[in-house]
Every structure is written in structure tokens, then in C-alpha cells.
């Protein structure tokens, strides 16, 4: 396989992984933007999205054959469940602590994360066994390739992940820039107290932010279930952390940053595995190296601006 073709193939692999990180990272970045809180439970909302997708397609609706209708049904189910979950996590775990020092919310976030992970492993919940996510996209089982040029392959599922991520990003951009709620969101991110004084219903904006982020995480969960059909309660741990790193890399608080950071991290991972000897052993460690590097070199991230604290 010629060098260039291999490079492009790894780029494609990286974009697919990166799209998932980007979808999850947006949730982290938006919540940080409005609340200055790192919602550690967000990675587990992604897991719940994947789990809901599994249960919806196998237990609730008994989908026998992959159909587009079935896929969208499962996707919507997942989005609804995670949206509600995000709403209630904010309402019950973070809102009561909004006036407390931020470290308190951080600890709570970690607690919610662990609750979802270990509660999920309980026998009466999901159980710790990984579950085989079914095929939901028609035409993938027989012909998984969209494009097959020589040895270069772009899988249908990977292409779909990339496209859906892009569509969601554009939709998000529209919401943030063209709607009233988006304006309120930007106002609250900019100055929390002043926005409240100007009559913005801050509670509603924050709930909206959580719901939006969780919906995107749900989409990511279902897409990952389709690509690597193994879902288990701990699947959100590492991707959650990496998405957080992607958000920091791009500039936490900036939605473009989440997108850029996600794709960049995904591609870096694929390249490290490909071009470094024994790279696959460092695959997960690379993300954390990137985190340290960006915090040392440019802590505000790629798109972030250094904020002056005026005393």
C-alpha cells in the first residue's frame, strides 16, 4: 500500500474517531462556557446514549431488519433520554450548588459520573457485560464500503459519522448565532450576573445548554455503537476524558474549539498508532500528553483568548 494512500487512510480513521470526540467535546465546552464547570458526568451521558440505543433497538422496538426509519427512531429515543438525563443532572446535582465554591460542583460532577458508571454495572441496571449493538443502517452488513479505491476504504458508517457530526455542528452554530436562546446562551457565557440583571432567565439557559450537550452526546453514543458494536457501562470513561482534553485543546468555552480539538485529537491518535513504533501502546496516553502540552504552551487553547483577570 503506497505511503500516501496509507496516510490518507489513517486520516480517515482519525476523522471518524475525531468526529465522536468533537460531538462529546461540544457538551463539555458549552457547559464550561455558561457555568465554568467541567461536567465530568458528560462522558457517561454518552454511554447512556449508546445503552439507550441498544435497548431501544433490541428490547423496546425489536427491530429485526436495519431500516432508516428504525435508525432514526433509535436515534431520537436516545436523544430524548439523554436530553432528559442532562436536564435532571443539572437540576438535581448542580443547580443547588451554584452559589458554592466551584470545587464543590466539580466533586459532585465526579460523583455523578461514578454513579452512572458503577450504578450502570449493577445487575438490575445494565450489568457489566458488554452488549452487542445491532446493525441499524440498511445496506451496511453486505456492503460496508462507501468508497473503495485500491486499498483505500471509506466505510459507510464512518462517512455517516462524519456527516452527522458536521450536520449537528452546523445546526448548533445556527442555534447559537441566529436564535434568541443562542443569544441568551452567549450572554450568559460572557457575563453571568449581568445577563441575569438584563432579564435573561439564567436557569432556563443553563438547562437548555445541558440538554443540547446531552443530545449531541447521545448521537455520538449511537454512532459509536454502530461503528464498534460493543457497549458497556464503562465505555464513557476514556472517551469522556479525551473529549474533555479535545475541548481544552480547542479552547474550552469556544464551540469551534471543541470541533477543531476533537478532530485534531482523533487524527493525532491515528497518526501516533500508525507512524510511531509501538504506537498503539501509547494511543491513549497521547491524549494526556497533548493536554499537558497545550496547558504549558497555550492554556487558553487554540481558539481561546487569554482572559485578563482585572483586580
Amino acid at each position: 500500500m503506497p505511503q500516501f494512500q496509507q496516510f490518507v487512510q489513517q486520516l480517515i480513521n482519525g476523522l471518524s474517531i475525531g468526529a465522536i470526540y468533537a460531538l462529546i467535546a461540544v457538551g463539555y465546552t458549552m457547559v464550561y462556557g455558561v457555568l465554568r464547570l467541567i461536567n465530568f458526568a458528560h462522558g457517561d451521558v454518552y454511554m447512556i446514549g449508546a445503552m439507550t440505543g441498544f435497548y431501544a433497538s433490541t428490547r423496546w422496538f425489536h427491530l429485526q431488519q436495519p431500516t432508516w426509519a428504525g435508525f432514526f427512531l433509535v436515534l431520537v429515543c436516545s436523544m430524548l433520554v439523554c436530553g432528559a438525563l442532562g436536564y435532571f443532572i443539572e437540576l438535581l446535582a448542580y443547580r443547588p450548588l451554584r452559589n458554592q465554591p466551584r470545587i464543590v460542583s466539580l466533586i459532585t460532577a465526579i460523583a455523578v459520573s461514578m454513579l452512572l458508571e458503577f450504578g450502570g454495572q449493577a445487575k438490575w441496571m445494565f450489568g457489566p457485560d458488554p452488549k452487542p449493538f445491532p446493525d441499524l443502517i440498511p445496506g451496511v452488513e453486505a456492503h460496508p464500503d462507501l468508497v473503495h479505491m485500491g486499498q483505500l476504504v471509506i466505510g459507510k458508517v464512518d462517512a455517516m459519522i462524519f456527516l452527522i457530526a458536521l450536520v449537528m455542528m452546523f445546526a448548533l452554530r445556527y442555534v447559537v448565532r441566529q436564535t434568541k436562546m443562542g443569544l441568551a446562551l452567549r450572554a450568559v457565557s460572557y457575563r453571568f450576573d449581568t445577563a441575569a440583571l438584563m432579564g435573561v432567565n439564567v436557569n432556563r439557559v443553563i438547562s437548555f445548554t445541558f440538554v443540547l450537550g446531552s443530545v449531541l452526546a447521545a448521537v455520538a453514543g449511537v454512532l459509536v455503537g454502530l461503528r464498534s458494536p460493543k457497549v458497556d457501562p464503562l465505555m464513557g470513561l476514556l472517551p469522556g476524558l479525551k473529549a474533555f482534553i479535545a475541548a481544552v485543546l480547542g479552547g474550552i468555552g469556544d464551540i469551534r474549539g471543541a470541533l477543531a480539538g476533537g478532530f485534531l485529537l482523533g487524527i493525532t491518535e491515528a497518526m501516533v498508532v500508525s507512524y510511531f513504533p509501538k504506537g498503539s501502546e501509547y494511543r491513549d496516553g497521547v491524549a494526556f500528553l497533548v493536554l499537558i502540552a497545550i496547558l504549558v504552551v497555550k492554556p487558553s487553547g487554540l481558539f481561546g483568548r487569554a482572559v485578563q483577570e482585572k483586580v
Binding site: 457485560d129 464500503d145 476504504v153 466505510g155 464498534s228 465505555m235 491518535e269 491515528a270 494511543r283
Partner: protein, 386 residues
């Protein structure tokens, strides 16, 4: 005052009843395995085979005139939990022997505990040679990886029913003693036979994306890929290899043996080979008998290798206790060490000097979503059965 006396009386009676209910004259055996987690089918299959043997033993009078009672602990596919499980079995349940585990990493974690406590431990299916090297109280009912890795290498290179490959890629699980060991033995035999390892990639148990490693492997243009891992990752790897357009066969070890391999891998696993302890379509009376009884007890489910080894391990242990004539750990250990030609369903089991079983390997090929018997390798032929 009267209410307090009533409560005390209730507590007293309850604890007396509970004490009396504990059967003191059973022989207690411990079993630890991965009933849940990433390798759940290993533990549940072993348990099912074990219980089949237990029923047969107890219904024909038990051992030394007593019934055998098995206490099970789940280690959730985690080595740390395996240690605590075995500690609990030994110190709280006072077991006289332990059966477990399937995964070599977990057997290695638990073995030192059993060795220190002088409780014999019989692993039904751990194949990494280091397990029995922990001490003289640790045994296994199956073959070891030097044999398994070599058998697959020989088959893949020389056997006409195999892929007749010369260039191999390896994709192994770096977090897993079993996988690391198999890779080493496979590589040795390939090189000794003049073959080449053109790519050597790794992953970690729990990973879900292998496309980067598979793309690297594709670049090296191998004839076949050796994937000596456990079924969950193997299923995903096969699918992703096919997704990338790779049609070369993948091969593996007994860690592939699970119905989840087919559930996760679907038709991507067709055309692949793996080494195993037995094949359900083997045409011997003992295997046929075992499969029939297993199906009868477990709703027509086909037993996998872990089930038959669990069955044989229980039988072997009961036989050893009978020969020892006592429930003393040391005597059971000695009896186990002298096991000769025990007629197990998976084959005749004889313990060698290193407390490993000398047993043949079967090679299976997956076709039409089912594993079929292709060849048997006897211990001497592969050259590393000792």
C-alpha cells in the same frame, strides 16, 4: 421490657436455625470465575460444565460418602477481584480446594494466595505456562501455550487444510498474559519454520477501535493475521478488518471460543481459524455423551470448550479427593499430581511433572457462522508439549 425479650428471643432462634441449616458434613469446594464482565461467557460456561459434573457426582453418592457443595465467586473479569474472591473462599467458606480461573491473568493473580494457604487450585482452562509455575499446589486440566502457539503456527504454514501462509501479522492484547505468551510462542515457531512476521501490532483489552493498527497491518501485506485475544475484541477486530477490505484469514487461540464471537463478529469471522480444547462435532462417545447431557440440562445450548473443561476439572478434582481418601489439602494435592489417564470428556488427562495436562489440540475453522473441526494436533507432534 417484654418487647425486648421477644426481640432477643427472635434473634436467638433465627441464628440457631441458620446454624443448624448449614450443612457441616458437605465437602466444600470453591469456584471463582468471570461470571460477568468482558469475558463473562468464560465464567458462565465453566460454571455450567462444572455444575453438570457436580450433579452427576452428587447423584451417585458424592465423594467419601459426602455431598460436594460448590461456592461460587464472581471476579467480574478483573484480576484484583480474583484475588479477593479466592481469599474469601479460603478464609470465610473454608473450601478444601479451588477450581478456577479461565483467564491466565486472573489465575496468575489468585494462584499465590492458594499456594500460600496450601489449598490446591485447579485451573480448567488457563493456558499460560506461568500459572502452574507459581507453586506445587497449582494445577491445570488443559494444555499450555507453548504447545498452542506452535500448533497454530505449524498448521497455518504446513497443513493443507490451512491458509499455507508464510507472512504473518500479529495483533495481540498487550494487557493480557495469555495473549502476550501466545504471541511469543507463535512467533518462535513461525521463525523456526522459515516464515516471517511482517507486522506486530498491539491493543489493550477494552479497546473498541482497531482500524489504525489494521491499516498498518494492511500496509505490510501479510498472508494471515494472528489475533490471540479474547472474544469481545476479536469479534470487533474481525469486523473492522473486513470493513477495511481485508479478506485474509485471521487466526487465534482458545480465547475465541464463545458464542459472543459470532454475535459481535457476525459474518466477518467466516474463513477464520482458532485452536481449541475440543470440538462439539467430535465423533467420540465421551464428547457425544457430554454434549447430549449438557444440552438436556441447559435448554439445547451447545457447550463450548470452557464448559467441557469445567466439567472435567470438577470430575478430576472429585476423583483426586476419592483417591486421597481425605479432605486434607496436602493429600488432595498429591492425588492430583498423580492423576493418570483420568477419563475426561475432553480427553484422557495425565498430570506431567509441571502439573500441566498432556492433551491434544483441535483446530477449528469458522464457516457459515459456525466453527467446524479441521484437524487435531497431538502433544508430541508440535514438539513443545512438554
Amino acid at each position: 421490657m417484654r418487647r425486648d425479650i421477644l426481640i432477643l428471643l427472635l434473634i436467638g432462634v433465627t441464628s440457631w436455625v441458620c446454624r443448624a441449616a448449614r450443612a457441616d458434613d458437605d465437602i466444600v469446594i470453591g469456584e471463582f470465575g468471570s461470571l460477568t464482565g468482558g469475558t463473562a461467557t468464560f465464567g458462565t460456561s465453566t460454571d455450567e460444565g462444572l455444575r453438570l459434573a457436580l450433579d452427576e457426582i452428587n447423584s451417585s453418592g458424592g465423594v467419601l460418602g459426602k455431598a460436594i457443595r460448590v461456592v461460587v465467586e464472581d471476579d467480574q473479569s478483573k484480576p484484583e477481584a480474583a484475588v479477593t474472591a479466592v481469599q474469601k473462599l479460603i478464609s470465610e467458606d473454608h473450601v478444601i480446594a479451588v477450581i478456577g480461573e479461565v483467564a491466565s491473568s486472573r489465575s496468575l493473580a489468585a494462584a499465590p494466595v492458594c499456594q500460600r494457604s496450601r489449598i490446591p487450585m485447579l485451573s480448567p482452562s488457563s493456558t499460560n505456562p506461568k500459572v502452574t509455575a507459581v507453586g506445587n499446589f497449582i494445577f491445570r486440566a488443559c494444555f499450555i501455550d507453548p504447545f498452542q502457539g506452535a500448533a497454530m503456527a505449524n498448521f497455518a504454514m504446513n497443513n493443507d487444510k490451512g491458509p499455507k501462509a508464510r507472512r504473518f501479522a500479529i495483533l495481540y492484547d498487550v494487557k493480557n498474559d495469555y495473549s502476550v505468551g501466545l504471541r511469543q510462542f507463535f512467533t518462535q515457531t513461525v521463525k523456526a519454520n522459515g516464515g516471517q512476521i511482517v507486522a506486530d501490532e498491539s491493543y489493550g483489552e477494552g479497546d473498541i477501535d482497531f482500524k489504525a493498527q489494521l491499516t498498518n497491518i494492511e500496509r505490510a501485506a501479510p498472508d494471515a493475521i494472528y489475533v490471540p485475544g479474547y472474544y469481545t475484541e476479536v469479534g470487533l477486530i474481525c469486523r473492522q478488518a473486513r470493513d477495511l477490505g481485508m479478506s485474509i484469514p485471521l487466526m487465534g487461540g482458545d480465547g475465541w471460543d464463545s458464542d459472543k464471537t459470532f454475535q459481535i463478529g457476525r459474518d466477518a469471522v467466516n474463513g477464520c481459524y482458532f485452536t481449541n480444547h475440543y470440538s462439539p462435532d467430535e465423533d467420540t462417545p465421551r464428547v457425544k455423551d457430554f454434549v447430549a447431557h449438557y444440552r438436556a440440562k441447559y435448554a439445547n445450548k451447545t457447550p463450548d470448550a470452557m464448559a467441557i473443561l469445567g466439567y472435567d476439572a470438577m470430575g478430576m478434582l472429585a476423583d483426586a479427593i476419592k483417591r486421597a481418601g481425605s479432605t486434607d489439602g496436602r493429600q488432595i494435592r498429591d492425588a492430583l499430581a498423580h492423576t493418570k489417564g483420568y477419563p475426561g470428556a475432553s480427553g484422557n488427562i495425565t498430570m506431567d511433572a509441571r502439573r500441566n495436562a498432556q492433551k491434544p489440540i483441535v483446530i477449528l475453522k469458522i464457516e457459515n457462522d459456525q466453527a467446524h473441526f479441521v484437524a487435531t494436533v497431538q502433544p508430541d507432534a508440535a514438539g513443545s508439549g512438554k
